[in-house]
């Protein structure tokens, strides 16, 4: 048996004051260096003209002014809103899947795991799968469309459909995520309340609406948070499936930013940072709402 060394007098007397900071410091330091400080730096850089290597030049709001004149920015913004709106469908779909699977039959655990599968897979792989799925000539989806309508559509090459096509690919894992949240929620329902409601003759839709959904509120909240964040963060799928194309029609802010800052279009760090700041501000609106609610919950504990 080993003894931890006896703390020295000073440490022992003051450990209640010092210990919190000792425990907290390493993680907080890392988090500050890589997350908190870069946020501030990004905002700073967004007021500069910078190629990433040379000196920075202060240009004030010029990046933002340019952004307001950039057509791609509006396309990206519009697409982000589309993502946001359609991505939320993952919540009811996830709920439906959870309700469908919340039974106690043989093998159901395996079914639940398999339904959850898409979430575990990298978005790169999801993107490739759906690219293949949509591919003209030999893609399953195109074949089905052809069989149904007689004419072929190249989803990812068509400005009208491309964003929807990518969003559907995104909904696949996101629905799985919401499903698992709801399955856990359903697992923890207060069965006495449900039985009481059944005695009061509530069933089906009414039971779901008035008794079950209120009890699932925490799951809905988390599903909301992860879905909104996921929609605004959408990068991988756009990058893999279309790289923003065709002709920039599937741009989203996150990819637009990356493209401006780091790709063959030139290393425009300041401009990229300005786009990131706009995205950040949009996200902050949601983050603030979520945090206000979380803190309220924390207080009610």
């Amino acid at each position: 048996m080993q003894h931890d060394p006896q703390p020295a007098g000073f440490w022992k007397r003051n450990q209640m004051k010092i210990a919190p900071y000792v425990f907290f410091a390493p993680g907080a330091l890392m988090f500050s260096i890589y997350v908190l400080i870069p946020i501030v730096q990004s905002i700073w850089i967004s007021f500069q003209d910078w190629d990433g290597l040379g000196p920075k030049t202060w240009i004030g709001l010029a990046n933002y002014v340019e952004l307001l004149d950039d057509d791609t920015f509006y396309v990206a913004l519009k697409n982000n809103l589309l993502w946001l709106g359609l991505y939320l469908l993952a919540i009811p779909m996830g709920l439906a899947a959870a309700l469908f699977l919340n039974q106690n039959v043989w093998g159901i655990r395996l079914y639940k795991s398999m339904f959850f599968f898409p979430f575990v897979i990298s978005q790169v792989v999801v993107g490739l799968m759906f690219t293949w799925f949509y591919a003209p000539d030999f893609g399953l989806f195109s074949q089905m469309i052809k069989w149904l309508t007689g004419s072929e559509v190249a989803i990812l090459a068509d400005e009208r459909y491309v964003t929807y096509g990518i969003i559907v690919a995104g909904l696949w894992p996101q629905t799985a995520y919401c499903m698992i949240l709801y399955l856990t929620g359903l697992n923890n329902l207060n069965s006495e309340q449900i039985e009481a409601a059944r005695m009061d003759n509530a069933r089906g839709w009414r039971l779901l609406r008035h008794v079950i959904l209120p009890q699932l509120a925490p799951a809905t909240f988390i599903a909301m948070v992860v879905t909104v964040i996921g929609a605004l963060r959408s990068f991988d799928l756009v990058s893999i499936m279309t790289a923003g194309g065709p002709y920039g029609s599937s741009q989203v802010l996150s990819y637009f930013m990356y493209e401006q800052a780091l790709s063959e279009y030139g290393y425009r760090m300041g401009y990229g940072a300005a786009i990131a700041v706009v995205l950040f501000l949009i996200m902050m609106v949601f983050i603030t709402l979520f945090i206000v609610r979380m803190i309220a919950q924390e207080r009610n504990r």
């Binding site: 048996m1 003894h3 931890d4 006896q6 022992k12 007397r13 450990q15 209640m16």
Partner: protein
């Protein structure tokens, strides 16, 4: 020597004052019980003595040393928590020896002391088990064992029996009392249950809303409560309180009871006024024996076999409880004659302070 002394001890949580100035001396080897309704600050006060809560103001001395600013580990106290706080991943033996191990005691010494504690608490067959495999009473004993091994000068208990069922509670009450006799250490015990307080304490401290209402031995508190709060809190069933008019009369006190009957009490009173008469159910007479007799209507009769508890209403509607013989046959709706023995009556003024204690020990 481990007397505990608190002088003008206060505790605030933010702007809210929870402990509002406590002065208290607990003698070495004394069994002192803090009792009071829940939320009155008993746990907070105990935790201040343990060092788990800072003392906002005032001073605490243990064994003559100023402990106000000393950390919990250096106060020479051991504490038994209401939830037992056993470490779920350690066996009973490891739980008991953990504190010693962490403070650098010799392995042999730890083994010796653990064995002694286990023997004292009949935990020997359980030493290899995890807390999850123990019954409530066994867990309780492990928690006590963990306190004993450290040979503390002061034991602190925070409602240690409240998670046990009634019969086990009675048994553990006895065990803790015996432990106190064997160890001779100072013990401070928090409970909201006045029966526990009455049966175990050398000294009871009645707390209410962060203040001491009264300090005394169990019988002192029973016979000579200083105010309505203590009178109502100590004793079960509760003391009856009857509104009366009182006035000085013939060198004593005369009170007018509901319905107009009068009762002469010994003692002195400065001025006449509305007061509260206190009479314990066990001192009221269901057979009409007493210095004043009031007719009353039976509302409810609880037949307990050994005794009967009548809830009766007086002329003005005041309900009182009366303890009677187990064979008493009155039924709800019947009229009874309730006797009030003058020497058992307490009188409280309009502020609730005792003017007169019907001290039967006198």
């Amino acid at each position: 020597m481990a007397e505990v002394s608190l002088s003008n001890v206060k505790k605030d949580f933010g702007a809210i004052s929870i402990i509002k100035g406590i002065d208290l001396e607990i003698k070495d080897g004394e069994f002192c019980v803090f009792v009071g309704p829940s939320g009155c600050g008993k746990s907070t006060l105990l935790r201040m003595i343990a060092g788990l809560e800072d003392i906002s103001q005032g001073a605490l001395r243990i064994g003559g040393r100023d402990m106000t600013k000393i950390g919990p580990s250096d106060r020479g106290v051991a504490m038994v928590f209401q939830s037992y706080a056993l470490y779920p991943h350690m066996t009973v033996g490891e739980n008991i020896g953990f504190g010693l191990r962490m403070t650098g005691h010799e392995k042999a010494e730890i083994a010796k002391r653990t064995a002694a504690a286990a023997k004292m608490l009949q935990l020997e067959p359980l030493l290899e088990r995890k807390p999850g495999q123990l019954s409530g009473g066994q867990r309780q004993r492990v928690a006590i064992g963990r306190a004993i091994v450290r040979n503390p000068e002061v034991f602190l208990f925070d409602e240690p029996l409240s998670n046990l069922d009634a019969s086990l509670r009675v048994q553990m009450r006895g065990e803790i009392s015996r432990l106190h006799q064997d160890l001779g250490a100072t013990m401070i015990y928090v409970t909201h249950d006045q029966v526990e307080a009455m049966t175990m304490a050398d000294k009871i401290v009645v707390l209410s809303a962060g203040r001491i209402e009264q300090v005394g031995s169990p019988l002192e508190l029973y016979h000579r409560p200083k105010n309505l709060f203590v009178a109502g809190f100590i004793g079960s069933p509760k003391m009856n309180f009857i509104p009366v008019d009182a006035r000085p009369h013939n060198g004593g006190i005369e009170v007018t009871l509901p319905g107009g009957a009068t009762l002469q009490l010994a003692g002195t009173l400065a001025a006449a006024g509305k007061m509260t008469l206190g009479l314990r159910p066990e001192h009221a007479s269901a057979t009409g024996a007493g210095d004043a007799v009031l007719p009353a209507k039976v509302q409810l009769a609880e037949h307990l076999g050994s005794e009967t508890l009548f809830f009766v209403s007086l002329a003005d509607g005041t309900e009182i409880a009366v303890k009677a013989d187990g064979l008493a046959a009155e039924r709800p709706g019947d009229t009874m004659q309730i006797g009030f023995p003058a020497r058992a009556c307490h009188l409280f003024d309009a502020d609730g302070n005792a003017v007169l204690n019907g001290d039967l020990t006198r």
